[in-house]
Symmetry: C2
């Protein structure tokens, strides 16, 4: 069994996620985007660690998340792992002892989030530009793009971080994990654990399976539901395809500027759970 702490395992999960290849549309071991390169993800993962360690030490989820994002943003690529950290922080907070967090423990962590956690979540948007969809029509004041400017409105509404996520769940795959008990995260950890071969190959397989399983919400936000659906349909035809076909798909998506970032976020979260389950590197 590894001697890694949960914060170390979470950081390693971020590193393995970006190194897994081919991961169609995203930065991976063999692909950069124009202004978002592999080294930005390395620095983002290293920078996030103090926030992850804070979550492991029992600091509030929102505050730990904001700290992780501030550290992550300490590189020139911009947003590298915001969504992944939004999954990893509660998973780390729910981890007790050496093993993986139980789904019950994760549910408890989410249920116990407060208005202060929600406020810290909004403040995290001050550190880095994050592509998100329009806010719900009934709550324009809760637009996360307002960052810390929205905090008084969050406090006036008395809304917890879990409740903020609940509102976003229909259109955001990361928020959906919060609302469904990290269902895809834990299922993907099972897949990672059941696989054989090098962990980076398993990472790529898991990413493709997740993409095939459900349209990526970041792609939907940026390019519309039809594009997101067609990307997932193509992914589903490639699950048993020769690797060269998956590489070609990856190149096509990068060329088209189509980046299934939410799928990468869930992959990173699944890697954390798998590492805590003892999957070796």
């Amino acid at each position: 069994m590894s001697q890694r702490t949960p914060a170390q395992a979470a950081e390693l999960a971020l590193l393995l996620e970006v190194a897994g290849t081919p991961k169609p549309g995203n930065v991976d071991r063999h692909r950069d985007l124009d202004d978002l390169r592999f080294e930005h993800f390395l620095a983002g993962a290293v920078g996030a660690r103090p926030g992850l360690a804070a979550a492991a030490a029992g600091d509030p989820v929102g505050e730990s998340f904001e700290r992780a994002v501030a550290g992550m943003a300490d590189q020139r690529g911009g947003n590298t792992q915001f969504g992944a950290l939004l999954l990893l922080v509660p998973l780390v907070a729910a981890t007790e002892g050496d093993g993986p967090p139980s789904r019950d423990a994760v549910e408890r962590v989410l249920a116990e989030t407060t208005v202060a956690d929600a406020a810290a979540f909004y403040r995290a948007f001050d550190h880095v530009a994050v592509l998100v969809g329009e806010p719900p029509a009934d709550a324009p004041d809760l637009d996360v793009r307002r960052g810390s400017d929205a905090v008084p409105d969050v406090e006036a509404r008395g809304i917890s971080l879990a409740a903020v996520m609940e509102r976003s769940a229909p259109k955001d795959g990361v928020a959906a994990e919060w609302s469904n008990g990290f269902e895809r995260t834990f299922a993907s950890a099972d897949r990672l654990a059941a696989g054989d071969g090098p962990i980076l190959d398993r990472t790529a397989d898991t990413f493709l399976a997740l993409l095939a399983d459900e349209p990526d919400s970041l792609v939907a936000t940026k390019h519309g539901d039809d594009v997101a659906r067609s990307v997932s349909e193509r992914a589903s035809t490639l699950l048993d395809a020769p690797r060269a076909d998956v590489e070609a798909f990856a190149d096509d998506l990068v060329k088209g500027g189509i980046n299934p970032g939410t799928t990468a976020d869930v992959t990173a979260a699944a890697l954390y759970v798998a590492l805590q389950r003892g999957v070796p590197v």
Copy 2:
């Protein structure tokens, strides 16, 4: 200026080093060796951090190094960054405030190493198999391959870690850095800082310049001085060559099992100094 702590910068240096490509003969972003893969270096860097943080906190150099190596070894690839850590630990220990360590501060750290530091250095060899040359004929009891078994002899001789390094310097490029005030490390940090373009490209350029400059001592230990010299001669013809030629050289060395590991160690150390000087990622 980055908010990274010295321990974070040192870990990031390890990650940037392995990601730099092409880095002829070594694991890099685009190349694995048979049993030593990219992910082993990622896990090694993450695992080393507590030892690096101990060095930053003022713990003894030997103890910090042993701790870093024990954490580094927590993956299945074996020795990934032993030599790099032997350079990074004193550099981190010599770092005060936000900037890079001065060469004077590094010299002081080395000069202050003790017999206890030497003993911890020997114990570090218990954690991982390291390829080293034969011990000096006059001191077979100081063979590092004996690991902790050699500690009573180290103590009986009353030899400091700096003195251990002094003995190894003629045949070991990492030990030579200890003996010459980290000359190649600081010169390469200058090169990294003077370069432009993405940091991973500068990393590859710096590695090639170091390899051209001096035969790699790990290659000499494994394949003999003639091979080490001819590798460096070929590197020196490629300093201004098209990238494809360097890629071909990299593939040749990997095929031949020729891994200039010492050159990679110095590159990692130079990256740390460059990051502390404010070279951006």
